[in-house]
Symmetry: C2
Subunit: 114 residues, 2 copies
């Protein structure tokens, strides 16, 4: 079990901003996963593994979101309020899982680490 | 209501590593806060504000953790398994809250943004 967080690398976000957005994605997707306790509890027990990946476009981020949802995985797209560093409504990152490694890799396996 | 994540800036962590550690701290502290629904629900409704700050030492991070606990705030210290970038058992960051702004500022108000 793992959770993947995909961050847009085409935005000019500093590391603190990225950390806050990633935490937002992680928490929102994890809350969805709490409805699948078999995944959520195992993930927590295994140490709540998280992998942070990157994409260079909003279009790809949205496509990954749709694919994760169709696959039945917990998936949360983060839209920033735009108080700092980005415009209001900017989609910054995506949390997928926790879920089985193989199911998540089928969607994000070709992405690079942030 | 807000949540603060304090990250050690004296470790050589890349931005992806920082994001994963911060998400870990955020989720762990948020889970504690779920036992205080009055704080947790308001925070979620307000947009789950998160602020990422930095400290330069493990000693200060541990002191902030103790002060947050004594103040009755949700507080989670993250110890990394050390598979990448840091030694096993390294304490990397701290999540405090969600909780009332004033109570959290009393502990972290003098820290700088990451």
């Amino acid at each position: 079990m793992k959770q993947v967080i995909v961050v847009r690398s085409d935005l000019k976000m500093g590391k603190g901003k990225i950390a806050a957005q990633a935490a937002h994605a992680s928490l929102s997707a994890a809350e969805m996963a709490q409805r699948k306790p078999a995944w959520y509890e195992v993930w927590k027990e295994e140490g709540q593994a998280k992998v942070v990946l990157r994409t260079q476009s909003e279009a790809e981020l949205r496509e990954l979101f749709q694919r994760a949802k169709r696959a039945g995985l917990p998936a949360a797209l983060v839209e920033d309020r735009g108080l700092t560093q980005v415009e209001p409504g900017t989609v910054t990152c995506l949390g997928i899982g926790p879920g089985p490694d193989g199911e998540i890799d089928a969607i994000t396996g070709n992405l690079r680490l942030l």
